[in-house]
Protein backbone atom coordinates (compact mmCIF):
# COMPACT_ATOMS: atom_id res chain seq x y z
CA UNK A 1 0.00 0.00 0.00
CA UNK A 2 0.96 3.54 -0.57
CA UNK A 3 1.70 4.31 3.07
CA UNK A 4 3.82 1.21 3.60
CA UNK A 5 5.89 1.99 0.53
CA UNK A 6 6.43 5.54 1.74
CA UNK A 7 7.63 4.27 5.12
CA UNK A 8 9.99 1.80 3.44
CA UNK A 9 11.42 4.50 1.20
CA UNK A 10 12.22 6.65 4.20
CA UNK A 11 14.05 3.80 5.91
CA UNK A 12 16.25 3.48 2.83
CA UNK A 13 16.86 7.21 2.90
CA UNK A 14 18.11 7.05 6.46
CA UNK A 15 20.54 4.32 5.50
CA UNK A 16 22.09 6.50 2.82
CA UNK A 17 21.69 10.02 4.14
CA UNK A 18 21.79 12.15 1.11
CA UNK A 19 20.31 15.59 1.19
CA UNK A 20 17.01 14.69 -0.40
CA UNK A 21 13.72 16.33 0.22
CA UNK A 22 11.66 13.13 0.12
CA UNK A 23 12.15 12.54 3.83
CA UNK A 24 11.17 16.08 4.54
CA UNK A 25 8.27 16.54 2.16
CA UNK A 26 6.00 13.59 2.95
CA UNK A 27 6.37 13.16 6.65
CA UNK A 28 4.74 10.34 8.50
CA UNK A 29 5.13 9.10 12.02
CA UNK A 30 4.49 5.38 11.46
CA UNK A 31 8.16 4.56 11.07
CA UNK A 32 9.20 6.32 14.28
CA UNK A 33 6.36 4.58 16.11
CA UNK A 34 7.49 1.14 14.94
CA UNK A 35 11.12 1.91 15.77
CA UNK A 36 10.19 3.24 19.19
CA UNK A 37 8.10 0.20 20.03
CA UNK A 38 10.74 -2.28 18.85
CA UNK A 39 13.52 -0.45 20.70
CA UNK A 40 11.43 -0.35 23.87
CA UNK A 41 10.63 -4.06 23.52
CA UNK A 42 14.30 -4.93 23.11
CA UNK A 43 15.30 -2.80 26.09
CA UNK A 44 13.01 -4.84 28.30
CA UNK A 45 14.12 -6.82 31.26
CA UNK A 46 17.36 -5.00 31.95
CA UNK A 47 16.32 -3.75 35.35
CA UNK A 48 18.20 -4.72 38.48
CA UNK A 49 14.93 -4.79 40.34
CA UNK A 50 13.71 -8.32 39.82
CA UNK A 51 10.16 -7.80 41.02
CA UNK A 52 9.57 -5.29 38.28
CA UNK A 53 7.34 -6.57 35.53
CA UNK A 54 9.16 -4.53 32.95
CA UNK A 55 6.39 -2.00 32.82
CA UNK A 56 8.05 1.23 33.82
CA UNK A 57 11.09 0.74 31.60
CA UNK A 58 8.98 0.21 28.54
CA UNK A 59 6.97 3.35 29.16
CA UNK A 60 10.19 5.17 30.09
CA UNK A 61 11.86 4.46 26.77
CA UNK A 62 8.72 5.54 24.98
CA UNK A 63 8.50 8.79 26.90
CA UNK A 64 12.22 9.55 26.55
CA UNK A 65 12.13 9.14 22.80
CA UNK A 66 8.94 11.07 22.09
CA UNK A 67 9.41 13.77 24.71
CA UNK A 68 13.04 14.19 23.68
CA UNK A 69 12.06 14.53 20.03
CA UNK A 70 9.37 17.09 20.88
CA UNK A 71 11.81 19.15 22.94
CA UNK A 72 14.41 19.16 20.17
CA UNK A 73 11.77 20.20 17.67
CA UNK A 74 10.59 23.04 19.90
CA UNK A 75 14.18 24.09 20.37
CA UNK A 76 14.85 24.23 16.67
CA UNK A 77 11.62 26.09 15.99
CA UNK A 78 12.37 28.64 18.69
CA UNK A 79 15.81 29.18 17.16
CA UNK A 80 14.02 30.23 14.01
CA UNK A 81 14.11 27.05 11.96
CA UNK A 82 12.07 26.81 8.79
CA UNK A 83 11.14 23.18 9.18
CA UNK A 84 7.67 22.29 10.40
CA UNK A 85 6.90 20.52 13.66
CA UNK A 86 5.93 17.13 12.28
CA UNK A 87 8.70 17.05 9.70
CA UNK A 88 11.28 17.43 12.41
CA UNK A 89 9.64 14.73 14.53
CA UNK A 90 9.60 12.50 11.46
CA UNK A 91 13.32 12.96 10.75
CA UNK A 92 14.38 12.47 14.36
CA UNK A 93 12.24 9.36 14.64
CA UNK A 94 13.49 7.74 11.46
CA UNK A 95 17.10 8.44 12.40
CA UNK A 96 16.68 6.23 15.47
CA UNK A 97 16.86 3.30 13.05
CA UNK A 98 20.68 2.79 13.20
CA UNK A 99 20.44 2.66 16.98
CA UNK A 100 17.67 0.07 16.79
CA UNK A 101 19.93 -2.02 14.59
CA UNK A 102 22.71 -1.52 17.16
CA UNK A 103 20.36 -2.75 19.90
CA UNK A 104 19.59 -5.86 17.88
CA UNK A 105 23.30 -6.56 17.41
CA UNK A 106 23.97 -5.94 21.10
CA UNK A 107 21.32 -8.41 22.13
CA UNK A 108 22.78 -11.01 19.82
CA UNK A 109 26.29 -10.37 21.13
CA UNK A 110 25.05 -10.62 24.71
CA UNK A 111 23.60 -14.04 23.95
CA UNK A 112 27.18 -15.19 23.47
CA UNK A 113 28.41 -13.83 26.78
CA UNK A 114 28.90 -10.63 28.74
CA UNK A 115 32.68 -10.33 29.06
CA UNK A 116 35.14 -7.61 28.12
CA UNK A 117 35.33 -8.62 24.46
CA UNK A 118 31.60 -8.44 24.05
CA UNK A 119 31.64 -5.05 25.73
CA UNK A 120 34.26 -3.77 23.30
CA UNK A 121 32.28 -5.09 20.35
CA UNK A 122 29.13 -3.49 21.66
CA UNK A 123 30.94 -0.24 22.29
CA UNK A 124 32.20 -0.10 18.74
CA UNK A 125 28.84 -1.01 17.23
CA UNK A 126 26.85 1.41 19.37
CA UNK A 127 29.40 4.17 18.88
CA UNK A 128 29.35 3.89 15.11
CA UNK A 129 25.57 3.70 14.93
CA UNK A 130 25.30 6.71 17.22
CA UNK A 131 27.58 8.63 14.88
CA UNK A 132 25.53 7.52 11.91
CA UNK A 133 22.23 8.58 13.52
CA UNK A 134 23.55 11.97 14.51
CA UNK A 135 25.07 12.59 11.09
CA UNK A 136 21.92 11.47 9.29
CA UNK A 137 19.60 13.67 11.30
CA UNK A 138 21.99 16.61 11.21
CA UNK A 139 22.19 16.33 7.44
CA UNK A 140 18.44 16.83 7.24
CA UNK A 141 17.82 19.24 10.06
CA UNK A 142 20.77 21.59 10.26
CA UNK A 143 20.22 23.02 6.83
CA UNK A 144 16.99 24.61 7.85
CA UNK A 145 18.84 26.86 10.27
CA UNK A 146 20.83 30.05 9.75
CA UNK A 147 24.57 29.23 9.72
CA UNK A 148 25.53 30.73 13.06
CA UNK A 149 22.89 28.68 14.87
CA UNK A 150 23.84 25.27 13.58
CA UNK A 151 25.78 24.21 16.67
CA UNK A 152 22.88 25.20 18.90
CA UNK A 153 20.61 22.88 16.95
CA UNK A 154 23.05 20.00 16.58
CA UNK A 155 23.93 19.82 20.27
CA UNK A 156 20.48 18.69 21.55
CA UNK A 157 20.29 16.11 18.76
CA UNK A 158 23.71 14.84 19.81
CA UNK A 159 22.52 14.63 23.41
CA UNK A 160 19.30 12.87 22.46
CA UNK A 161 21.01 10.10 20.52
CA UNK A 162 23.72 9.93 23.18
CA UNK A 163 21.13 9.16 25.85
CA UNK A 164 19.55 6.46 23.70
CA UNK A 165 22.98 4.97 22.91
CA UNK A 166 23.80 5.03 26.61
CA UNK A 167 20.63 3.08 27.40
CA UNK A 168 21.55 0.56 24.72
CA UNK A 169 25.15 0.19 25.83
CA UNK A 170 24.39 -0.23 29.51
CA UNK A 171 21.69 -2.79 28.88
CA UNK A 172 22.36 -6.07 30.64
CA UNK A 173 19.78 -8.84 30.47
CA UNK A 174 18.57 -10.59 33.61
Amino acid sequence: MRDLKAVGKKFVHVMYPRKSSALLRDWDLWGPLMLCVSLALMLQGGSADSKDDGGPQFAEVFVIIWFGAVVITLNSKLLGGTISFFQSLCVLGYCVMPLTVAMLVCRLVLLAGAGTISFIIRLIVVGSMFGWSTLASTAFLADSQPPNRKALVVYPIFLFYFVISWMILTFTPQ
Binding site: L33, V37, D53, G54, G55, A59, I83, F86
Partner: protein, 184 residues
Protein backbone atom coordinates in the same frame (compact mmCIF):
# COMPACT_ATOMS: atom_id res chain seq x y z
CA UNK B 1 -24.15 1.49 2.15
CA UNK B 2 -20.76 0.90 3.71
CA UNK B 3 -21.33 -1.65 6.44
CA UNK B 4 -17.71 -2.80 6.49
CA UNK B 5 -16.42 0.74 6.95
CA UNK B 6 -18.92 1.43 9.72
CA UNK B 7 -17.95 -1.76 11.47
CA UNK B 8 -14.25 -1.07 11.35
CA UNK B 9 -14.73 2.56 12.37
CA UNK B 10 -16.18 1.43 15.65
CA UNK B 11 -14.28 -1.83 16.01
CA UNK B 12 -10.77 -0.48 16.57
CA UNK B 13 -11.82 2.33 18.90
CA UNK B 14 -14.07 0.19 21.03
CA UNK B 15 -11.63 -2.71 21.25
CA UNK B 16 -8.86 -0.33 22.33
CA UNK B 17 -11.05 0.94 25.15
CA UNK B 18 -12.24 -2.55 26.11
CA UNK B 19 -8.68 -3.89 26.11
CA UNK B 20 -7.57 -1.01 28.31
CA UNK B 21 -10.32 -1.75 30.80
CA UNK B 22 -9.91 -5.52 30.79
CA UNK B 23 -6.16 -5.84 30.35
CA UNK B 24 -5.72 -7.51 33.70
CA UNK B 25 -7.93 -10.39 32.61
CA UNK B 26 -6.17 -11.02 29.31
CA UNK B 27 -2.57 -11.10 30.37
CA UNK B 28 -0.25 -10.29 33.22
CA UNK B 29 2.21 -8.54 31.02
CA UNK B 30 2.05 -4.77 30.94
CA UNK B 31 4.10 -4.67 27.77
CA UNK B 32 1.76 -6.93 25.82
CA UNK B 33 -1.26 -4.83 26.78
CA UNK B 34 0.56 -1.60 25.99
CA UNK B 35 1.64 -2.76 22.57
CA UNK B 36 -1.78 -4.22 21.74
CA UNK B 37 -3.64 -1.07 22.69
CA UNK B 38 -1.12 1.06 20.85
CA UNK B 39 -1.52 -1.05 17.72
CA UNK B 40 -5.30 -0.84 17.95
CA UNK B 41 -5.13 2.92 18.37
CA UNK B 42 -2.81 3.25 15.38
CA UNK B 43 -5.02 1.11 13.16
CA UNK B 44 -7.99 3.15 14.30
CA UNK B 45 -6.24 6.43 13.52
CA UNK B 46 -5.21 5.29 10.07
CA UNK B 47 -8.59 3.83 9.15
CA UNK B 48 -10.62 6.77 10.42
CA UNK B 49 -8.39 9.32 8.78
CA UNK B 50 -7.96 7.62 5.43
CA UNK B 51 -10.98 5.40 4.91
CA UNK B 52 -14.06 5.81 7.06
CA UNK B 53 -14.20 9.60 7.01
CA UNK B 54 -14.12 9.60 3.24
CA UNK B 55 -16.65 6.79 2.85
CA UNK B 56 -19.13 7.60 5.58
CA UNK B 57 -19.33 11.37 5.61
CA UNK B 58 -17.36 12.50 2.58
CA UNK B 59 -14.76 14.51 4.48
CA UNK B 60 -11.00 14.37 4.38
CA UNK B 61 -8.02 16.29 5.67
CA UNK B 62 -4.27 16.12 5.30
CA UNK B 63 -1.07 18.03 5.50
CA UNK B 64 1.09 18.86 2.56
CA UNK B 65 4.41 20.58 2.23
CA UNK B 66 4.94 22.54 -0.96
CA UNK B 67 8.10 23.41 -2.83
CA UNK B 68 9.42 26.11 -0.56
CA UNK B 69 8.90 24.07 2.57
CA UNK B 70 5.75 25.67 3.88
CA UNK B 71 3.23 23.31 5.34
CA UNK B 72 -0.46 23.52 4.60
CA UNK B 73 -3.29 21.77 6.32
CA UNK B 74 -6.00 21.04 3.79
CA UNK B 75 -9.58 20.23 4.75
CA UNK B 76 -12.11 19.08 2.18
CA UNK B 77 -15.82 18.35 2.24
CA UNK B 78 -17.78 16.57 -0.45
CA UNK B 79 -20.84 18.37 -1.70
CA UNK B 80 -23.85 16.03 -1.60
CA UNK B 81 -27.12 16.90 -3.28
CA UNK B 82 -29.41 14.42 -1.52
CA UNK B 83 -28.97 12.78 1.84
CA UNK B 84 -30.33 9.22 1.96
CA UNK B 85 -31.58 7.69 5.18
CA UNK B 86 -28.79 5.14 5.31
CA UNK B 87 -26.18 7.87 4.89
CA UNK B 88 -27.79 9.75 7.77
CA UNK B 89 -27.49 6.74 10.04
CA UNK B 90 -23.90 6.13 9.00
CA UNK B 91 -23.02 9.77 9.53
CA UNK B 92 -24.57 9.69 12.97
CA UNK B 93 -22.61 6.57 13.91
CA UNK B 94 -19.45 8.19 12.58
CA UNK B 95 -19.80 11.36 14.60
CA UNK B 96 -20.92 9.55 17.76
CA UNK B 97 -17.93 7.23 17.59
CA UNK B 98 -15.64 10.14 16.83
CA UNK B 99 -16.78 12.25 19.76
CA UNK B 100 -17.44 9.73 22.50
CA UNK B 101 -14.10 7.92 22.40
CA UNK B 102 -11.79 10.90 23.07
CA UNK B 103 -14.10 11.80 25.96
CA UNK B 104 -13.67 8.31 27.38
CA UNK B 105 -9.89 8.48 26.99
CA UNK B 106 -9.89 11.84 28.80
CA UNK B 107 -11.76 10.22 31.67
CA UNK B 108 -9.12 7.47 31.67
CA UNK B 109 -6.48 10.18 31.85
CA UNK B 110 -7.93 11.61 35.03
CA UNK B 111 -8.54 8.22 36.58
CA UNK B 112 -4.95 7.17 35.84
CA UNK B 113 -3.62 10.41 37.23
CA UNK B 114 -5.56 10.26 40.45
CA UNK B 115 -5.07 6.55 41.07
CA UNK B 116 -1.34 7.10 40.46
CA UNK B 117 -1.00 4.24 38.00
CA UNK B 118 1.42 6.38 36.13
CA UNK B 119 2.86 3.76 33.84
CA UNK B 120 -0.38 3.82 31.89
CA UNK B 121 -0.22 7.56 31.50
CA UNK B 122 1.92 7.44 28.37
CA UNK B 123 -0.58 5.15 26.68
CA UNK B 124 -3.58 7.24 27.70
CA UNK B 125 -1.92 10.41 26.44
CA UNK B 126 -1.12 8.68 23.14
CA UNK B 127 -4.74 7.57 22.88
CA UNK B 128 -6.07 11.03 23.59
CA UNK B 129 -3.80 12.70 21.05
CA UNK B 130 -4.54 10.23 18.26
CA UNK B 131 -8.29 10.34 18.72
CA UNK B 132 -8.47 14.08 19.29
CA UNK B 133 -6.41 14.67 16.15
CA UNK B 134 -9.02 12.91 14.05
CA UNK B 135 -11.84 14.65 15.90
CA UNK B 136 -10.29 18.05 15.35
CA UNK B 137 -9.53 17.36 11.70
CA UNK B 138 -13.04 16.27 10.89
CA UNK B 139 -14.70 19.06 12.82
CA UNK B 140 -12.56 21.50 10.92
CA UNK B 141 -13.67 19.90 7.64
CA UNK B 142 -17.29 20.05 8.64
CA UNK B 143 -17.29 23.62 9.89
CA UNK B 144 -14.67 24.95 7.52
CA UNK B 145 -15.42 28.46 6.40
CA UNK B 146 -16.89 29.56 9.67
CA UNK B 147 -14.91 32.42 11.08
CA UNK B 148 -14.46 31.21 14.64
CA UNK B 149 -12.74 27.99 13.66
CA UNK B 150 -10.48 29.76 11.18
CA UNK B 151 -9.42 32.32 13.74
CA UNK B 152 -8.53 29.63 16.28
CA UNK B 153 -6.58 27.68 13.67
CA UNK B 154 -4.67 30.77 12.53
CA UNK B 155 -3.63 31.55 16.05
CA UNK B 156 -2.54 27.98 16.72
CA UNK B 157 -0.51 27.74 13.54
CA UNK B 158 0.85 31.25 13.74
CA UNK B 159 -0.32 32.67 10.46
CA UNK B 160 -0.82 36.23 11.58
CA UNK B 161 1.09 37.64 8.63
CA UNK B 162 -0.14 35.24 5.94
CA UNK B 163 -3.53 36.10 4.46
CA UNK B 164 -5.83 33.12 4.53
CA UNK B 165 -7.00 32.07 1.12
CA UNK B 166 -10.66 31.08 1.04
CA UNK B 167 -11.08 29.56 -2.37
CA UNK B 168 -14.17 27.57 -3.18
CA UNK B 169 -12.89 25.58 -6.06
CA UNK B 170 -15.23 22.88 -7.26
CA UNK B 171 -13.17 20.07 -8.71
CA UNK B 172 -14.22 17.33 -11.09
CA UNK B 173 -15.63 14.81 -8.66
CA UNK B 174 -17.75 17.34 -6.87
CA UNK B 175 -15.52 17.96 -3.87
CA UNK B 176 -15.46 21.42 -2.46
CA UNK B 177 -12.22 22.71 -1.07
CA UNK B 178 -12.20 25.36 1.58
CA UNK B 179 -10.17 26.58 4.46
CA UNK B 180 -6.56 26.50 3.32
CA UNK B 181 -4.47 27.59 6.25
CA UNK B 182 -0.85 28.35 5.47
CA UNK B 183 1.74 27.76 8.15
CA UNK B 184 5.44 28.22 8.35
Amino acid sequence: RHPLATFFHLFFRVSAIVTYLLCDWFSNSFVACFVTILLLLSFDFWSVKNVTGRLLVGLRWWNQIDEDGKSHWVFEAKRVSTIAASTEAEARIFWLGLIICPVIWTMFFFSTLFSLKLKWLALVIAGISLQTANLYGYIHCKLGGQKAISRVTSRLFGTADVPKRQSRRISQDGTEEHGKTGTR
